[in-house]
């Protein structure tokens, strides 16, 4: 009798547990890509840099104008996160969220578990993603091609403003992501990237 009751209880517990899981079934991991996100800037080459950042929101998968609902933003070769504090350049948005970033060395497919101890945020000292060729996400070839190319094997791992995770592989900095870009002919400051977004809070795995 006791045995039967416990059995019934177990069934019930399992049933409700499963029900609960069904109710909050995990959201699918988002695999997507963005083409030609335009990130213009003014100044540069020794002059002060200015211009609005092109903001991007992982949750909607869209670029946005919102002063708060954004995760990462682009201007020229600079990529900022909505976390930390402003470097103080002209037209730089205030940080309102808790976004962070680190760079994973390896392949996009192999970057499977986020290491939360590695995140950095922007600060008045500099951006979390270092600027300059070879320091962050890109390599500047200098003469004779003057091309800016995403450094292969650099995966940007983001924490979004609200604590979710995403990984990004930047593919191109030129409009139309041409197979053989020409720094003199192709328009630059157009980002094309692949990304994977884990919409489930606290889940550090992408698979």
């Amino acid at each position: 009798m006791t045995k039967g009751r416990i059995f019934l209880l177990s069934i019930l517990v399992l049933f409700f547990y499963n029900c609960e899981e069904d109710n909050t079934s995990p959201l699918d991991v988002v695999y997507s890509s963005i083409e030609d996100l335009h990130a213009p800037q003014q100044g540069g080459q020794g002059q002060p840099i200015a211009g609005e950042f092109a903001k991007f929101d992982f949750e909607t998968g869209l670029s946005t104008q919102s002063p708060t609902e954004w995760d990462i933003a682009f201007r020229g070769t600079a990529i900022i996160v909505n976390g930390g504090s402003s470097l103080g350049t002209t037209d730089e948005p205030e940080r309102t969220g808790d976004a962070g970033v680190y760079i994973y060395d390896g392949l996009m497919s192999e970057m499977s578990v986020v290491d939360t101890s590695l995140f950095n945020q922007d600060s008045s000292e500099g951006y979390a993603i270092n600027t300059g060729s070879g320091n962050g996400w890109y390599t500047y070839a200098g003469p004779p091609t003057y091309l800016i190319s995403p450094t292969p094997g650099k995966i940007l791992v983001f924490r979004t403003r609200d604590g979710k995770f995403a990984k990004v592989e930047i593919l191109s900095y030129y409009l139309g992501s041409p197979e053989n870009p020409d720094a003199f002919a192709d328009q630059s400051r157009y980002y094309t990237f692949n990304y994977v977004y884990q919409p489930n809070e606290g889940v550090t795995e992408f698979n």
């Binding site: 020794g46 002059q47 070839a141 190319s149 692949n194």
Partner: protein
Amino acid sequence: MNSSIIKKKDIEKTNASRLSDVINEELGLITVSDFGGGEGIQMQGLDSQYTLILIDNQPIIGRSAGTLDLDRISVGNIKQVEIVRGASSSLYGNEALAGVINIITDEPKKGFNGSLSSSYETHNTLDNNISLSFSNKNFKSTFFINRYSSDGYDLNQNDELNTVNKFRNSTLQLKLGYQINKNFDIKLNSRYFSQSIDNIASDLLSGESFTAEDNINLSVTHKSKKINTDLDIYFTSFYGDEYLDDDNGERFSESFYDQILFKPEIKSIYSLNKMDNIVLGFGFKHESLNRTYFDINPKQNSPFAYFQYDYHPNEKINLIFGGRFDKFEEYKSQISPKFSGRYRIDDSNSLKLSLGYGFKAPDFRQLYFNFSNTSVGYSVIGYNVINSVINQLIEEGQIANIIIPLSDFNTPLKPESSLSINIGYDRIFNDYISIKSNLFVNSTKNLIDYRVIANKTNGQNVFSYYNINNVSTYGLEVETKFKADNNFDISFGYQLLYAFDIDARRLFEKGEVYARENPSSPAFRLKKSDYFGLYNRSRHMGVLKINYTNPEKNFSSNFRLKYRSKYGLYDSNSNNYLDIYDDFVKGYITANFSFNKNLKKNFIVSSGIENIFNYKDPNNIQNLSGRILYLKLKYRIN
């Protein structure tokens, strides 16, 4: 020792006018253009800064960017060029990690002699030589003057710049010798070179680039039955300045470079017997440099001493033990041991081995440079002035963040050092065919490179020098000669070369280097075998030379081919290393033909074609102008 000699008659056959022309026809040696257009030598896969260039045993200076421009040296008065490959000679200097090129100038024959020559080439290139010499029992003198000028050429018509700008240069050399008595003689060698090159940076900016070089050597020799002693007092200076004016005639930029070297040295050769001898020498080097972009005028005093023991235990074996000691103010004193040996198995077979350790102290630029590019905004700082310059930049608010902590620069920059091994086998098959082969390994430690040490607020970087790479170059040289008779011979040479950054190869091995199929596809992992090696190194090089002389009809002609296989100039796929997915400069062949005819006893007419196939690669190869035709007249006085 792995050494070879290019004789005057071989140089004359090819009608070469500059040292770079001569070097480029040698197996395993190529000249590589630097950014300033200078032609530096690459030997056994090592860069030009590791080859010591000497004229009459004395070093030439003036490497403003590390390269010594071989176009500076006229070959009109050269008796022979001696080439030592590998760090195996202890007599000339520690920095010769790759080797030594010693240019020996003409010694006068008895009586009064001389020659006049004039050569006219494509690109309005004019090469005029006058050489006069006089010698009697006690007195010797030679006088040489060369004037070389050219309109230059332009490989890329789409921009306003010329590939090689219009230039003119002059070389003057005077050598005097006097035998005081049976035991004493005294010599004075002096050489002066000056060059001016049009400096055109754009259609609005133009100016001039000027260089002048002096070499003076006073040498006193004492000869006795057993001991010969030389006292050499050598002074050389290299001066360069360049400027650009804008279209209003206002000065836009200006820079100068002023280097001197003073080197007294005593060398004694003690003959133990007919074959064996001991060489002992010591001396002192004083170097100073004053140039734009230096906050201080660095000086370096370095005493040195060396010895060499040339030993022949029997007819078959020759052993040379040597060593060199160099003392520096800022660096640990260095001892560089050397050994070379030859074993003659029989009349037609011999084995050679040489081992040498060499090192190169950081140059003034690597220590004291303080340069900020005005148009792009990056900075380059010498290792020893980092603290003061960075602090100044911080005060000026120019530094965004420091990547390499300044405390990392408290230990001095280490000298680059190299171990070189050459193993040779020579065989004479018969009267017609002979073969020479040589395996070489150069292992270089603490190679100096530059890296980013800080980010600037303008988004650019601050660079400085550091010891990083361990580089290994190894390969094989084979030279075959077929001599039908005194009038016809063919030689063929081949070099196989592997040149790697060992640390980079390890990263490939560990799978930490990535590439993309095309610039906008996802990355993939590279294998060890995908690593191509160092930039500007060709795996295969070949030289073919055919000489034909017709004594009855008084003419000679020769044909030379040089092949260089593909090589990479830069990393085109952004992973910092040269891998097989990068863009390469295509392999190519250049062919030269020359013809010399004696019209009368003392009158020679020469003509020829260089780069017969008109090979050009405007984007990658600046020193190949396309086909060149020339006509040369020479008159001998005696």
